[in-house]
């Protein structure tokens, strides 16, 4: 096998008759930070959600570290892997969501500990110490015993990132993590992601923050109508777009 961390080949995904991904290819290696940009409905979020099987897909393949995700071919028949196996594979990636999705009935520390205890089978003490370490890293050690309802949006999102990353995933997926935040809270979340990126965490980000995509990523993918419209390093992409669609998109976006 190649040394690719992520390998997406000819990914197809439809909702009924509507094809939202029309053959997407993408590879990334350890340490890559890739931003996916594009207008809404272009398939960015769907692509991200296919990677951890929050969406089913009808064609193509996704491999993480050489492991085929979600489906297997037995006797020429493509079929979905067992739920148990899929659950195990989902732990290869960590995901942060637009709406944070913290568990509201658990404290911040408990949110982080749940996966460590139930998926990684760590003891409560081990889980607690890992949770505290990561909450510290996102600047929320003092809020470990607060409940999500007692935290600001930015703080909740940082807890959600800690919850995902504490599981030690090979790849972090960020799905428009700042879109639901008040403008003054966006920065604290972006700062956390930036630090993680600098430390070599591999990540795939769907974002509308063009300035952030430009600064943090080593590669940018522009999605257009279910296909990759253009990809390359951020400098070329943002300053010298090769396609008409991308330059139009950049004009209407906040990057300037």
């Amino acid at each position: 096998m190649t040394g690719n961390l992520l390998e997406i080949r000819d990914l197809h995904k439809s909702y009924g008759d509507v094809e939202v991904l029309k053959g997407v290819d993408c590879t990334m290696v350890q340490g890559d930070v890739i931003s996916i940009i594009g207008s809404s409905g272009s398939g960015k979020t769907t692509m991200l959600r296919c990677i951890n099987m929050l969406e089913e897909f009808q064609g193509g393949s996704i491999r993480i570290d050489g492991q085929e995700i979600g489906y297997e071919t037995v006797g020429g028949q493509r079929r979905r892997k067992s739920e148990k196996e899929i659950a195990r594979q989902r732990a290869l990636t960590g995901m942060a969501f637009q709406q944070f999705n913290l568990f509201p009935h658990m404290s911040a520390a408990r949110n982080v500990m749940l996966g460590l205890m139930k998926v990684k089978k760590l003891s409560k003490e081990e889980a607690r110490s890992i949770a505290e370490k990561w909450l510290d890293r996102v600047g929320l050690r003092a809020r470990a015993d607060h409940f999500p309802g007692q935290l600001s949006g930015g703080q909740q999102q940082r807890v959600a990132i800690a919850r995902a990353i504490a599981m030690n995933p090979k790849l972090m997926l960020f799905d428009e993590v700042t879109s639901a935040l008040d403008p003054e809270l966006v920065n604290e979340v972006l700062q956390v992601i930036k630090t993680l990126a600098q430390e070599g965490m591999s990540m795939l980000l769907v974002t509308h923050e063009m300035r952030f995509a430009y600064e943090v990523s080593n590669r940018v993918i522009f999605m257009n109508q279910g296909r990759i419209g253009e990809e390359g390093n951020p400098r070329e992409m943002f300053h010298k777009p090769r396609t008409e669609r991308l330059s139009e998109f950049l004009k209407t976006s906040s990057f300037n």
């Binding site: 099987m53 960590g94 999705n101 568990f103 749940l114 409940f147």
Partner: protein, 220 residues
């Protein structure tokens, strides 16, 4: 109204009244417990069941919920016997109430589970939890908090519905009271007294519900 006379009769009738009260509490408790356990399964089937199962359970709940409890009680006592299932009045009554309770609890559980945002399940999946784990640690505890107020209502309804078992001859509080009235002719006093006892039971259930709600409340 002669208070002294009433108290004297009340004292004489204390044993049947206590027995009736005990019977009412046992009926209600049994019906609520069995009905709740059944109801949780009904709710799960309504929410997560495969299509044929969901339809069958949907028909079950709609049918039961649309039927008067009294009809269920009479049917379970008089009709089940004709198909060879011979239940005594107590068993038949519990069955009817539990079935009735299960359909209501099922709807409450379904409503609570469906009101939990999809993102909760997705977040649980994303950290690698299996569905049973997701239910046990993420969905269940959240649903429980939502179910509680409506469940307390249903439990109180069950206590009130237990009076219907007097019609098939279960010697619960209402039937005992009627027997006492037929001997003492103190109908106003004893109906009032029975009503007071029902109120006490339901008040206790409501306080208990409030207590659990407070204990499990999520800080915000």
């Amino acid at each position: 109204m002669d208070i002294a006379h009433f108290l004297e009769i009340l004292w004489l009738a204390r044993i049947p009244i206590l027995k009736g009260l005990g019977m009412t509490i046992s009926i209600s408790l049994l019906a609520i417990c069995v009905g709740t356990v059944l109801g949780v399964f009904v709710g799960l089937a309504l929410t997560y069941g495969a299509r044929p199962l969901r339809w069958i359970v949907r028909i079950y709940t709609d049918f039961i919920r649309g039927t008067p409890v009294l009809v269920l009680v009479l049917a379970s006592y008089y009709v089940l016997g004709t198909i060879g299932l011979d239940l005594n009045p107590f068993q038949a009554g519990i069955l009817a109430l539990a079935v009735f309770c299960s359909s209501h609890v099922g709807e409450i559980v379904r409503g609570a589970l469906q009101s939990i945002p999809r993102g909760q399940t997705e977040a649980a999946k994303a950290i690698g939890l299996t569905f049973p784990q997701t239910f046990a640690y993420v969905l269940g505890p959240q649903a429980l908090r939502q179910v509680l107020p409506a469940w307390v209502n249903t439990a109180a309804e069950m206590v009130k519905a237990s009076t219907l078992l007097s019609i098939i001859g279960v010697a619960e509080l209402l039937l005992r009271t009627q027997e006492i009235i037929s001997r003492s002719f103190l109908s106003l006093e004893f109906y009032f007294f029975a009503g007071f006892l029902y109120f006490i039971i339901n008040y206790a259930i409501e306080r208990f519900g409030r207590y659990v709600e407070r204990k499990t409340a999520v800080p915000s």
